[in-house]
Each structure stands twice: as structure tokens, then as C-alpha cells.
């Protein structure tokens, strides 16, 4: 992990939202690499290096995962549960990034051991500020155990 480019795995099926996230990170120059997948199944393929992500250079271990809840194929909650129940993956911070403020979604996300839960601002300037603060916190300040793989 140390010396690797700072990598974010973005799991987002809405292209406009994904665009906003990627633009914001690029504007603030916080992350070196953003890997974007469009559904829950691809997220797990990425993390477990399956299918098109089989080669490690195609899927560097992420420093954080930004995870939407409403996803095709496998839901965000299922992705979360898979990651957080796996000792080899559980130390990667998972930050829910969703439009939902529903109590039920919040409760389920925390029950599933999400590290954090963020609601996407509608306004791009606010969205950009969120991404800046998020990037700074999780990539510059937060520490994780060293990745052996």
C-alpha cells in the first residue's frame, strides 16, 4: 500500500454522478487513480481480481471505496457486507455515497459496518467541497494496515 498511487474504487451506476466525483477529485488533485465500476458485481470482481480485473495492475488495492447503495446486479449493501465480512478486505474504509437520507438505509449501512455515510449534495460547488474534504480525510489523514498482497 505504501508507495502505491492513492487509489479510489468508485462504485456508481449514475454516469452524471460518477462524472462529478471524478471531476472533483481531479480538480483537487487528491487521488492519483480513480477506478470506476458501474455495478455491485463489478465492484466485487475488482476487489477479488476476477474476470477483467484478474491482473493486479488492472485492480490496485483501493485506499477507500466510495459506494452507492442503489446498484445493478448486486446492491451496495450486499457489496458492503461481503467486504466487511472478509478479514482480507475489511480494513479498506467503505464510504457510502448516496442520494438517500432514509433512516432505514442509514441503519442498514451502519449495521453492515460502513465506515462512513455521505449524502450527495445536489449543488456542484458543495459536491466538490465534499469530495475535497473526503479526499483529504481518507487519503491524507486516515491510516490503514499495510497491504500484504
Amino acid at each position: 500500500m505504501r508507495g502505491d498511487p492513492l487509489t479510489i474504487l468508485l462504485v456508481e451506476d449514475n454516469p452524471a454522478h460518477a462524472e462529478m466525483v471524478i471531476r472533483s477529485f481531479n480538480d483537487h488533485r487528491v487521488a492519483n487513480k480513480i477506478c470506476h465500476v458501474l455495478d455491485g458485481e463489478s465492484a466485487l470482481d475488482y476487489l477479488y481480481r476476477r474476470e477483467q480485473f484478474a491482473h493486479p495492475t488492472a485492480s490496485p488495492r483501493p485506499h477507500i471505496i466510495l459506494l452507492d447503495l442503489r446498484l445493478p446486479k448486486i446492491s451496495g449493501l450486499q457489496v458492503l457486507q461481503t467486504i466487511k465480512n472478509d478479514p482480507a478486505q475489511m480494513s479498506i474504509p467503505v464510504v457510502i455515497l448516496t442520494t438517500s437520507e432514509a433512516e432505514r438505509d442509514l441503519a442498514m449501512a451502519y449495521e453492515g459496518h460502513a465506515n462512513s455515510y455521505l449524502v450527495k449534495p445536489i449543488d456542484f460547488a458543495k459536491f466538490s467541497q465534499l469530495i475535497n474534504d473526503l479526499g483529504l480525510y481518507w487519503l491524507a489523514w486516515n491510516r490503514q494496515p499495510w497491504d500484504e498482497s
Partner: protein, 161 residues
Amino acid sequence: MRKSKLIILLVEDNPAHAEMVLRSFEQHNAASHIYHVSDGQAALDYLFRRGDYENPRASPRPNIVLLDLRLPKLSGLEVLREIKTTPDLKCIPVVILTTSEAEQDLARAYADRANSYLVKPVDFDKFVQLMHNLDMYWLGWNYTPCPDRRNATNVINKETQ
């Protein structure tokens, strides 16, 4: 961003470090109240509203816990485990704030479901920056499913093992 009266529980036995946290928050006029305890037992008494902390006014429910690892009476990891296995408390973000960069401490903290792990900067200006970013992020952007429960009883339910 959420707007609410924000409560931080700081669990820190080193008075100089506690002072740095308090001063850092004062510096940027954060709209937060910091409650400080100096050992692991006091942290749990606070959260479970026991002993000196029976009165809810003396122990308002925190929006976040800043938790050192090396503590008297009960270790930070033991406090973390209690919080993360108690239904009424497990949704409170727990941010480890420690001098330790040891792999073992990092691994154990995440295994016990710490939300985040921060190493205290030695430099005070950096410390202030960290506290500022922490405040913006956890108390500004982050959502939790634990609204203030105006009708809550004083009893915290512990999961049966």
C-alpha cells in the same frame, strides 16, 4: 450539511494531548462541545450512563468518539469492542486518535470495527489542521442513524452474548 448541536467524547489520558485537542477545536470555533474522560472505564460509564454519568445532562450522547488506545483501567480496544457490540452505541463513529503507528494496533482497531484511525501529529499546527478536517468531515458531512432520542430511557440495552 447537518446542523445540530454536536457532542464529541474525547477519551484521552495524556493531559497535554487532551489540551491540544481542546485548543484545536477552540481555534476554529467549531460548534461542538467536547466531553473529556481520562480512562477507559470512565468512557464506558459515560456512554452507559453509570456512576458519575447517570444524569443524561452530564453525559449527552456523543456524535463521535475520539479514542486513544493506551488508557488506564480499560484499554482503547476494549472500549471500542464494547461500543461496537452494543446495539444502542454501535452506530456512533469511533475514531482512534493515537501516537501508535504499529501495524498490530492498526489491524486490531479495524478488526474491532473502528470507523477510522488517526495518528496524532507532533506539530501543533498540523494537529489543528487535522482537528479542523476531522470536524468538517465527521460533524459536517457524515450522517449517522442515531438521531437524538428525546424520549430515550437511561437504559442502554446490551446485546446478549
